[in-house]
């Protein structure tokens, strides 16, 4: 075990199982060592990690929000998007840097969709960026599939009993994105105004898209 933590600034925030400092030094050294060995042996290129970090940094929920807003305004696009989520996103210039397929799930007055990855943390990263920690932790992964209404209530989302809830469990190659319902009162909104109502959590399916009266776009 390294003694790297000795000279670290003392942390006063709580540590959870996603990130803590007790053994960080050791695994950080391991990460550096593995990366350097692979580069030395020319199994990966010297700039590839940095370039991929730039790709990761370029992905965030604004991309997904753009897709959703475009689908709300353009029925033909929405139809293509629901048929093939990946090619629909690619139409809007969102590249997929991995081998995953994307299935877009449309919320309706009768069906509410929720996505989860019970086995680990599969997530539509090309369109949403990296998942929040709670998506990767046991409570959400374990419970979303058998008591989704209770889980949604913990996010403040109450789904009426006559609305079916469909939970989709992601895999290494199939990822999901929820197309939330367009909020009422947005008939005259531009695509940008609509996109501003679409949050990451609404595309995971734990909350609806924001109500315009709560965000009052100019």
């Amino acid at each position: 075990m390294s003694n790297r933590n000795d000279d670290k600034v003392k942390h006063d925030h709580p540590h959870d199982e996603i990130s803590h400092n007790a053994s960080l030094g050791y695994y950080e050294i391991m990460e550096t060592a593995v990366r350097e060995l692979l580069i030395e042996r020319q199994l990966i290129g010297p700039g590839e990690i940095r370039r991929q970090i730039e790709v990761l940094d370029s992905r965030n929920p604004a991309l997904g929000a753009k897709v959703v807003a475009h689908a709300w305004l353009h029925p033909d696009f929405k139809a293509r998007l629901l048929k093939n989520g990946r090619s629909g996103c690619e139409e809007l210039g969102i590249s997929f840097y991995d081998d995953t397929q994307l299935i877009v799930l449309e919320n309706t007055p009768k069906v509410h969709n929720l996505i989860v990855c019970t086995l680990c943390s599969c997530y539509p990263r090309p369109v949403l960026g990296l998942p929040p920690d709670w998506y990767k932790l046991k409570p959400f992964r374990a419970r979303a599939i058998y008591e989704p209404r209770a889980v949604l209530a913990e996010f403040g989302t109450i789904i009426p009993d006559d609305v079916e809830i469909r939970v989709s469990d992601s895999t290494a190659v199939i990822r999901y994105l929820v197309l939330p319902m367009r909020p009422a009162g947005t008939e005259k909104f531009t695509e940008e105004q609509l996109a501003s109502l679409v949050t990451r959590d609404s595309m995971i399916g734990v909350i609806p898209a924001n109500n315009p009266s709560e965000t009052s776009p100019k």
Binding site: S19, I29, A33, L37, R50
Partner: protein
């Protein structure tokens, strides 16, 4: 049902359907090394050295104690190391030597007093 039957049917990652605590909406900004680790996973996948399924199985193969005690990206890098050993791409001593080198480079003024 025998007490160990569930251990055969359920690998450590397979927790869907289990009772669990309420969801706490925690998030954190990735540490720089965590982001590098994520990028490494993607690059290993691009080069068909380790794909996403192999990574997940590699994490499962760490066993429930390590899965419970290591953080998310600690599990990833530990799994990558093991998979690279299994594939004969690296040896444990390659990694140990390189880790010593990294450690001494990071702390040039410190003898390995607690090695």
């Amino acid at each position: 049902m025998s007490q160990t039957e569930d251990l055969m049917k359920r690998l450590p990652n397979d927790i869907g359907g289990f009772p669990a605590d309420p969801v706490v909406q925690v998030e954190h900004e990735l540490e720089p090394w965590e982001k590098r680790c994520h990028a490494l996973a993607d690059v290993l996948d691009f080069h068909k050295i380790i794909n996403t399924e192999e990574k997940r199985r590699g994490v499962e193969a760490l066993g429930s104690e390590m899965i419970g005690k290591l953080t998310y990206y600690e599990r990833w890098i530990a799994a990558f190391a093991n998979i690279l050993f299994q594939k004969g791409i690296l040896t444990p001593s390659d990694l140990a030597v390189k880790m010593d080198e990294v450690r001494s480079r990071e702390r040039p003024n410190t003898e390995s007093k607690n090695a």
